[in-house]
Symmetry: C4
Subunit: 249 residues, 4 copies
């Protein structure tokens, strides 16, 4: 695969992933959305099927890695580092593009995210904080615990992906992407509770940059103080998964 | 495939799609339904598995496109336009047939959609508006924003479908239809919040025609003022997806 | 396949189907169940994955039809009627066995289905009616409408199953059963609202016989006046699906 | 497969299974989790996709059995008992490791599991009991009924798994693990209501040992009086499934 194909594939695939992922968070969070308050199962399946859509679309161009933690895990496994920077660049650009697309899909909802007429400050009709649509926010702010959560959840993503490659016949079949997307649903359901499961540095950093610059009414903080954890945690998790894989398989 | 096979396949397949889709909206909306108020996750999976049922049934006859936006995206990709009109005609007829079938499945519920005895006007026991069972209604009526939502959501449907064809072995296997149906579940969960995700001109127009003419008690408006958006948006999205595909892949 | 294999396969497969199906209805209905009141999505997936479990188990013995409507649809398609009686007998016996197994799984819950101590007649703490765990009950009792619902829902099951056989490569692969089980989930979500979707004469009749004879405390009526509809409707639907298939495919 | 590969595969695979399974129970149970109170459907899919993740990862090393009841069912079927002890040892060690990992993912939530400031004893703000995150607890404590529930639910797991091996082409394809994981979702939805569906002796015993020794604040009882049922029930179920399989197939 040429650098151009890889870059375009990762941009398109990661953009679709984030369009679905930020989209489902907007769907569940914002007022005037038909899916408002429809619960955690909707969040987890929305992100998982975003992986399905993005990875399948990107597969013929770049293989559809869409995640720096996956790319680094694969590089550790194969020892091929030459094209890693193309993957990472495409993933970050794609994540930013996807966040803008999700914003456009929910444009009218974002514009209506103001205090409801006739209500007063401090009530449930205040504007909804918007950062959670774009990037992750921990329920309990505890850097060590948050980092551990992201590391373990990322190992639970990357180690199975590396192992899938070994199982006979899977590499070429359409089933692999389906299984990885259901794996991501499972990580969301099971391990997403404490931090909102970044498990992908591009997924968190790209949309956070977009959130910082987009002119969203009442958008609230972009919380850059937390931003290093959903980057560092998944990177450490990707390295750890690659190391476990090389040692055990 | 002969024109006859294509027409029959698209009629049957789209009828099944709309039977499931309008059916699940009736299931969640109408009084005296066991699935009443069971939430957005039921809506999204109901529509997605309607794609599964319809596309699989139509596959041996017409390939199971069931959606003018998909048909046009494929025509732009392949350059073959000769049979497009047969697909489109079958899809519109099938969508109308499916809406009638869904009405018949929920016949007793539609007939019972009256004000509950002993209650007064303006209470929660008034008849449920029925258009949302047949066609899409935006949460915020904003033509530009609604059109953007439908365009992006349709690109997110058609571009992956076009890309799926490239992945080795998928074209012949049963997995493709399964993946497309889960993709539609994902679009519903993630991108359906603002407009109810037509992403298919036949899916919206056919049932709206049926809603206009069926003698449903207390059916409310058929809202023809909005009807052009769920037709134009998906058509633009299909063209755009075909163009992106030809440029990038 | 010998008659013995067919009979044993259909008994085991249908028993597993009803174990899961009656089980999930008990899980959602009965007091002292961890899944109590968990909603329609749980019902629909529980029944669908019951098809998955039962059909896969029965596949090497009998092909895993598990439903007289499916068996008759296939017989109309293939013209082979000689072994139909073996299938039907196995399905009825299996459905009865499955209902007994589901009763045993929820034995303590059934035994605890009494009025809560200290409460009075007519409150929410009265015993739960148990027939809905075993057999279907319409929300609105209207024989014509109920029959139409069951006929259309059964066509939506059997016609896709017949068409699946035509799609290249599906017949031998493991994907077919998975797709049929998700189709059943979709029928539940979309078409189950009015009557509780029997779509299978054995699924309704077998457990109703068991309900009549099992010594369940406070079991309530077995409602034999309705019992002909979930038998006749699916049989008509199976015949109709076979006829449509022969005409259109 | 060497003893070393089997042991490592079963440790890693079972650890991932329990990480997801105990994780989803923590996600739904503990305060300050984004998935709190998201319902039984989340529990059932979380455990099922834990099987998906664990079995796929372990597949190239040990085949991914992850459950003594499955291992014993297969041994009865094949007559090969020589390596059973390696599987069982790996499964128990893996289950303990997975429970520790789930504890680490929810570390901040476990540490915050104290009475909310300013509230008094006996209110809803008391610490949540934690054993249900690690091991199963029956809704109604009735040894005979609980044992019957676990036996039947385990037969419903192991008999389909044994039968899957017979269906042509399944053994080598990636679809098998997907189907087994959805089977586990179905068992959870349908048969999990009375006892919380151990259906796996290692899944219950390993985390119970960990719960006994981990320094969790306000952890409550480890309930060793019940511990024999989720070990004996699944073992009996596995033997029974193997016997039924040998007799019927």
């Amino acid at each position: 695969m040429s650098n151009g194909h890889i870059f375009v594939g990762e941009v398109i695939g990661t953009a679709i992933l984030i369009l679905f992922g930020a989209g489902v968070c907007a769907a569940v969070t914002l007022r005037y959305s038909k899916a408002r308050a429809s619960g955690w199962v909707v969040i987890a399946f929305g992100w998982g099927f975003g992986v399905l859509a993005g990875a399948y679309t990107a597969a013929p161009l770049s293989g559809g890695q869409l995640n720096p933690a996956v790319t680094i895990g694969i590089a550790i496994d194969t020892g091929k580092w030459g094209k890693v920077w193309v993957y990472l660049l495409g993933q970050l650009v794609g994540a930013m593009l996807g966040a803008v697309l999700a914003y456009l899909v929910y444009l009218a909802q974002f514009q209506a995210n103001v205090r409801k007429e006739g209500t007063t400050e401090g009530t449930a009709d205040e504007p909804v904080p918007t950062l959670g649509i774009f990037s992750t926010i921990p329920e309990i702010r505890n850097p060590v615990a948050n980092l551990i959560t992201e590391i373990i959840a990322t190992v639970a993503l990357v180690l199975p992906i590396l192992a899938f490659g070994l199982t006979k016949g899977l590499g070429e079949s359409g089933t692999t992407v389906l299984i990885v997307s259901l794996l991501v649903v499972g990580i969301g359901l099971s391990l997403g509770g404490p931090t909102g499961y970044a498990i992908n540095p591009a997924r968190d950093l790209g949309p956070r940059i977009v959130h910082t610059f987009l002119p969203i009414p009442n958008k609230g903080t972009s919380d850059w103080g937390y931003a290093w954890i959903p980057v560092a945690g998944p990177l450490i998790g990707g390295v750890l998964a690659g190391a476990i894989y090389n040692a055990a398989f």
